[in-house]
C-alpha cells in the first residue's frame, strides 16, 4: 500500500480529562493495524506541532470552554473533511459543562481563591480566556459524527474507525451511550 493512499487523521484535546485519548491508546495492538491505513498527522500523541491545511478525519475530545478551544474547533472544522466529536464532553459538555450552573466569577473564585491556602488569587497569566458557557462542539461548528461515552471504550473507537475506513457511516448509538 502506498503512503499517498493513507487516510490522514488529526486529533485534539479541548476541555476534557484526556480519557478519550487514553481510550484511543487502549487500542493496543490494533494501533499497529490502524497505522497501516491511517496517518496520524496531528495529535497530542504525536510530535507534529501544526495542523496541516487539509486532513481527512478530525477527532475532537473535550468541550469548548475557552477561546482557544473555540479557535481549535473552528480550525478543525475548516481543515478536516470529516469531523468527529469523541466522548461525552465533546458531544454534550459533560463534566466541564457543570460549571454552567454557576456564575463564571464564582467558579474562578472557588477554584483559585476559596479553596487555595497558599497564595490564593486568580492567576494573572497562563489561564486562557474562559467562555461564559461551556459548549458541546457541535454548538459552535458542524460535526459529522457523535461518539458518546465517558470515555468511549477502545472497542467503540475501533468499531467507529474500521467502519469509516470501510467507507460506511457508523451509528455509534448501537454500541455506546452517554455515560458509558
Amino acid at each position: 500500500m502506498s503512503e499517498a493512499k493513507k487516510i490522514t487523521l488529526a486529533t485534539a484535546w479541548l476541555d476534557g480529562c484526556s480519557g478519550c485519548h487514553m481510550s484511543f491508546l487502549d487500542l493496543d495492538q490494533r494501533l499497529i493495524e490502524l497505522a497501516e491505513k491511517v496517518d496520524v498527522v496531528y495529535s497530542p500523541i504525536v510530535d507534529t506541532k501544526a495542523l496541516p491545511d487539509a486532513v481527512d478525519v478530525g477527532i475532537l475530545e473535550g468541550a469548548v470552554s475557552t477561546e482557544e478551544d473555540l479557535h481549535k474547533a473552528r480550525m478543525f472544522r475548516q481543515r478536516c473533511q470529516f469531523l468527529i466529536s469523541l466522548g461525552d464532553c465533546a458531544v454534550s459538555g459533560n463534566v466541564p459543562s457543570m460549571r454552567n450552573m454557576f456564575d463564571l466569577d464564582d467558579v474562578l473564585d472557588r477554584a483559585f481563591v476559596e479553596n487555595v491556602q497558599a497564595q490564593p488569587g486568580r492567576p494573572s497569566e497562563s489561564l486562557p480566556t474562559l467562555l461564559r458557557t461551556v459548549l458541546p462542539i457541535h454548538h459552535v461548528v458542524q460535526v459529522d459524527l457523535f461518539v458518546q461515552g465517558c470515555p468511549p471504550s477502545a472497542d467503540t473507537i475501533w468499531q467507529v474507525l474500521t467502519e469509516l475506513m470501510a467507507g460506511n457511516t457508523p451509528d455509534p448509538t448501537q454500541f455506546t451511550r452517554f455515560g458509558a
Binding site: 466529536s85 461525552d88 458531544v91 454534550s92 459538555g93 459533560n94 463534566v95 459543562s97 457543570m98 454552567n100 450552573m101 454557576f102 458557557t133 458541546p136 457541535h138 454548538h139 460535526v143 457523535f146 458518546q148 465517558c150 451509528d171 455509534p172 448509538t173 455506546t176 451511550r177 452517554f178 455515560g179 458509558a180
Partner: protein, 247 residues
C-alpha cells in the same frame, strides 16, 4: 377453613377486538390501551411517564404512534384499541419526534450521565440509546435546580428530574401517602414533598422508598450510592396495584 366460592362481580361486559400493530395481528380487550397491548405482545413502544400499575399520565409523549386514517399521532398509553385499527409504532416521523423529545429533556435540566449514581441503570439514558439520540441540537438551558438531601435515606436531585410524576402517582395511588405533588408551571415545574417542605421534614412521608424505585432517572436515589451504583426495581408496582384492586 375453606370459604365457599364467592361469585365475583363480572362488571360490565368488555368486547374483544382485533387490530394490527406494525406487522403483528393482535387481539385485545377494547378497554386496553395500545401501549398495554403492544407490550403484552412483545412489541416495544418507548415510554417514560407510563409505568405498569400506575394511572395513565400521558405527558412524556414518547409513546406516540400513528393510526391509519388519523392525521395526527396519538399517545399509545392513553388511546384505547378499537376493531380493525392499524397502528404504526416506528415510522421515520415518529423516530424524529422521539429523538427531539429526548433532546428537549436532556437540554431542559442537567443530566450529566457520567457522574450520575444511576449511570447504567437509567431509563432516560437507555431511551437516548434506543432512539438513536446521539447529540442534542437545541441549546442546553443550564438552569440550576435544587438538591434536597434532608431525608435520612433518600435524596432528590431536581437537576435530573423529568417531571414524569411517577413518584407522585405511586405515593398517592399505591402507598396512599400523597407526599409528592407538583408545583409551578412550564419549565419551573418541580415535584415537591408536602407543601414544598424539605423532604426530611415531611410529616406524610412513610419513608417506604417506592418513589425512589419507580423514578426512571437519577432524580430520586438512595443515599450512600456512588456513580453507577443506584439500581432500581419497579416490578412490585403492578403486583401491588392488582392486590389493591382485589380488596
Amino acid at each position: 377453613m375453606t370459604h365457599p366460592p364467592v361469585a365475583s362481580n363480572p362488571g360490565p361486559k368488555v368486547r374483544v377486538v382485533t387490530l394490527k400493530i406494525d406487522d403483528h395481528d393482535v387481539g385485545a380487550r377494547e378497554t386496553d390501551s395500545i401501549l398495554e397491548i403492544a407490550h403484552a405482545n412483545g412489541i416495544r413502544i418507548p415510554a417514560l411517564c407510563y409505568l405498569d400499575g400506575l394511572s395513565t399520565w400521558g405527558a412524556c409523549r414518547l409513546c406516540m404512534v400513528e393510526i391509519e386514517g388519523v392525521s395526527k399521532p396519538v399517545s399509545a398509553c392513553s388511546t384505547t384499541a378499537s376493531e380493525g385499527m392499524k397502528i404504526t409504532t416506528n415510522s421515520e416521523r415518529l423516530k424524529r419526534y422521539r429523538r427531539m423529545i429526548l433532546e428537549l429533556l436532556f437540554a431542559e435540566r442537567n443530566h450529566v450521565c457520567s457522574v450520575c449514581v444511576s449511570n447504567g441503570h437509567c431509563e432516560l439514558q437507555d431511551l437516548a440509546a434506543e432512539c438513536g439520540m446521539d447529540h442534542v441540537r437545541v441549546p442546553y438551558r443550564n438552569a440550576t435546580y435544587n438538591i434536597d438531601s434532608s431525608h435520612d435515606l433518600f435524596r432528590v436531585d431536581h437537576n435530573r428530574c423529568v417531571v414524569c410524576t411517577r413518584c407522585v402517582r405511586v405515593c398517592d395511588e399505591i402507598e396512599g401517602a400523597h407526599t409528592w405533588d407538583v408545583m409551578g408551571r412550564g419549565v419551573n415545574c418541580q415535584v415537591i414533598t408536602d407543601l414544598n417542605q424539605p423532604w426530611g421534614d415531611s410529616q406524610s412521608c412513610t419513608s417506604c422508598g417506592k418513589c425512589v424505585q419507580v423514578c426512571p432517572t437519577g432524580a430520586l436515589v438512595k443515599k450512600g450510592t456512588a456513580a453507577g451504583e443506584m439500581e432500581k426495581h419497579d416490578d412490585f408496582v403492578p403486583y401491588l396495584a392488582q392486590m389493591r384492586k382485589r380488596q
